[in-house]
Symmetry: C2
Subunit: 353 residues, 2 copies
DNA sequence: CTGAAAGCGCTTACAG
DNA sequence: CTGAAAGCGCTTACAG
C-alpha cells in the first residue's frame, strides 16, 4: 500500500507538504499543490484514516443513534442525514439501540463513542441527566432530533408533538367525535424517546379544551409499530364501549388500527375514524388521514447543523431553543363524521343504501 | 484522557501486558489479568480505536452498503445485521448509495473502503468485473446479500428470485388468470441491483411454461417504490387492454398498484388481482398476497458469515455457491379468480349482488 | 511557503 | 508469562 512518503518522494517535497496539499490547506503554493496532487493520483494514494485520526485527533466520522431503523421516521431521517454527511466527506457510524437500554448507557457513560466520532446525532434518543456530565466534560458536539430532553450545548431539531396531537384531535372533534380513543407508545417499550408522552398530553389537552373528559379506558399503550397498533386496537375493542374515532400516535400504529378494525368487521371511517401522525409513505395508499411531519428535512437539517458546528460556524440561536419544524393536517379517507351524526341506524349505512 | 501507560503504571506491568490482558489474549496469567482489568476499570480506561487500528491493522468496523435505507427490505437487513455485529463488538459504517453510481465506484475503485473497514457487506449492490480486481488484490473479506453477481471469494446470501417470481405467477395462473401484467424496477433506476432482472425472467418463464406468450405491453418498469408501483400501474391502465392480474416485483410496488387501481375505480381482487414479493410489514394490513422472503434472517446470516470469516473459521461450502434461503407463498385478499371466470358481467359483481 | 522532527497511543515480533 | 523497543502512517507545532 502506498504511503505518504511515496507521494512525497515522487513529488519531491516533504511529507508535511503532502499532508497540507492533500487537505487543501492554504499555506501551499499552487505549483507545489499541483505536483503533489498529480503524484498522489499517479500512485493511487489515499490517506490512511487510522493514522490521520491518531495524529490529527479528528475521526471524520459522525455517530448516528436511532432506536430502530425499520421504522419509517427513523429510516427517513437517517437516509437524509447520510447523504448530507457523505457529501461533506464524513462517514456515518450507525447505532441502533433496539430497545437495549444497556447499549445506550454504555454509549454515553464511557468515552467509547467520543473516541470514534467527531460528533453525535441522537434521533429520538433521550439522554439522562447523568449522561450530560459525560457529554459536557468531553465537549463533543451533537444535535438531537425529535428528542424529549434538551442537551445543554446541543441544538435540537423537532416538531411540536403536543401541537401535532392537538391538531389531530381537533380534526376529529370538528367532525363531531366525542368518544375519541388514543393509542400510543408504552412507557416501557419506548424508553428511548418521549414523543408518546407529548402526544398523549396534546390529546388530553385538546379534549379538555373542548369540554370532553379523557376516558382512561379509551387510552391504550403498545409499541410504535403496526402490530402495536393492532394489539392496542384489539384491546380497545375488548374493553367494549367502542370509540367513534381513534387518534394513533404515529401512522404505523394507525395502520395497525385500521387493520384490526377491518378484521373486527368495523368500517373506516363509517364506524370508526382513524388519524395518525407522520405522513408515512404508505399513508396515501391506505387513505390514512394524518398530521404530516417533515422527516427527511429533520435529518438533512440535523446533519447541516452538525457540520456547521464542526466548522465552528453555528448559528448561535440554535443553542438557545430547539428548532421547531411545522406540521400540517392531511385529510384523506380514514376520517369522517361519527355514525350517529349522519346515519343513526347502522342498517341504512351499507353501501347499497 | 487516560492512556494505556496510566493503566500499566497503576497495575505495575508493561503496556504490552495491558494490551494483551484487555484483549483477553491467553498468554496472560490470571492474577495479572485481574490486576489489569481492575486498574482499567478504576481509571475508566477504554482503548483508543485510532491508535489500536494503526498499530494492529484491524478497524473493528464493518462497512455495510445498501442502495437505500428507507425501503423495507434494506432497513430490515441492516437492523438484523447491526445487532449481530454490535453484539460481536464491531461497529457498522453505513453507506447508502441512493442511486449515486459515482459513490459506488469510488467505494470500490480506490483503497478508501479497505482502509476503513475489516470487511464489507453488500446488500443488493452489484459489483462490476472491474471491481473484482480491486477487491481481490486487497483481499478484503465480504459477503453479498441479494446480489446478482457472484464476487469471487465472497459468500452470497440470497433467495432464488427466478423461483420466487415463478411462484407468484403460478399462483395467478392457478386462479385462472391469463392476462398477467408485470411491474418491476427499471434498468436505469435500479442500477445497483438485479433482482428485477431475475424476477422478470421468472415471470416470463412461468407464463411460457403455461403456454401464455408474455405481452410486452403488460410489462412496465419503474422504481422499486410505492410511487413507482403507482406510476407503473397508471401506465398499464393508460395502455388499455387492462390485465386481470398484476405481479409486482416487490410489495412496495404492489401496494402502489393497489392504490392506483382503487383510484381508477377498479376493485382488488374482483377486477384486478395483485401479488408481490417480500411480505412487507404492511402486507398483512392491506391484505396483500405475496411471496415472503426472510429479510431479517438474510441480514443476521450475512453478519454471522462475515464474523466467521474474520475469525478464520468459515464453512468452506459457502464459497462454492450462494446460500439460497426459502421463500413461501402467503395468500391474502388481493388475489382471486379473474372476473370472467365467476361473474361474466361486471354489473352482477357489485356488493349488493 | 516549506521541512525536520516529535508525537499521536496503541500492537507486535523478539528476546527472555 | 512478561517487557523493551520498534513501528504503524500520519499531523502539527516549530523554525526558517
Amino acid at each position: 500500500m502506498t504511503r505518504i512518503d511515496d507521494v512525497a518522494r515522487l513529488a519531491g517535497v516533504s511529507t508535511a507538504t503532502v499532508s497540507r496539499a492533500l487537505r487543501g490547506l492554504p499555506t501551499v503554493s499552487a505549483s507545489t499543490r499541483d505536483r503533489v496532487l498529480l503524484a498522489a493520483a499517479e500512485l493511487g494514494y489515499t490517506v490512511s484514516p487510522s493514522a490521520s485520526r491518531l495524529a490529527g485527533g479528528r475521526t471524520g466520522t459522525i455517530g448516528v443513534v436511532v432506536p430502530w431503523i425499520t421504522r419509517w421516521f427513523f429510516s427517513t431521517v437517517v437516509e437524509a442525514a447520510e447523504s448530507t454527511l457523505h457529501l461533506a466527506g464524513y462517514d456515518l457510524l450507525l447505532y441502533t439501540l433496539g430497545g437495549r437500554e444497556h447499549v445506550r448507557k454504555r454509549l454515553f457513560r464511557t468515552a467509547d463513542l467520543h473516541k470514534r466520532v467527531d460528533a453525535v446525532m441522537l434521533v429520538a434518543t433521550n439522554v439522562q441527566a447523568a449522561d450530560f456530565a459525560t457529554i459536557t466534560r468531553r465537549a463533543i458536539p451533537g444535535v438531537t432530533v425529535s428528542s424529549g430532553t434538551v442537551v445543554p450545548g446541543w441544538p435540537g431539531i423537532r416538531i411540536d408533538d403536543v401541537a401535532a396531537a392537538r391538531t389531530a384531535v381537533a380534526h376529529l372533534l370538528s367532525l363531531g367525535h366525542r368518544r375519541v380513543a388514543h393509542i400510543s407508545g408504552s412507557p416501557t417499550a419506548e424508553l428511548t424517546h418521549t414523543a408518546h408522552v407529548d402526544r398523549r398530553q396534546g390529546y388530553r389537552q385538546e379534549l379538555l379544551a373542548a369540554g370532553v373528559t379523557p376516558d382512561p379506558r379509551l387510552d391504550v399503550n403498545d409499541e410504535f409499530t403496526i402490530s402495536g397498533g393492532t394489539r392496542a386496537t384489539e384491546e380497545l375493542l375488548r374493553r367494549g364501549n367502542i370509540p367513534t374515532a381513534i387518534f394513533a400516535a404515529c401512522d404505523e400504529m394507525a395502520m395497525g388500527a385500521m387493520s384490526a378494525l377491518r378484521l373486527a368487521g368495523l368500517r373506516v371511517p363509517q364506524d370508526v375514524s382513524v388519524i395518525g401522525i407522520d405522513d408515512h409513505a404508505l399513508a396515501a395508499v391506505v387513505g390514512l388521514t394524518t398530521v404530516a411531519q417533515p422527516a427527511a428535512e429533520q435529518g438533512r437539517l440535523a446533519a447541516t447543523v452538525l457540520l456547521d458546528q464542526l466548522c465552528g460556524q453555528s448559528d448561535e440561536s440554535l443553542f438557545t431553543a430547539p428548532l421547531i419544524l411545522p406540521t400540517r393536517l392531511v385529510v384523506r379517507e380514514s376520517t369522517g363524521p361519527p355514525r350517529g351524526k349522519l346515519e343513526p341506524d347502522r342498517l341504512t349505512t351499507t353501501e347499497a343504501g
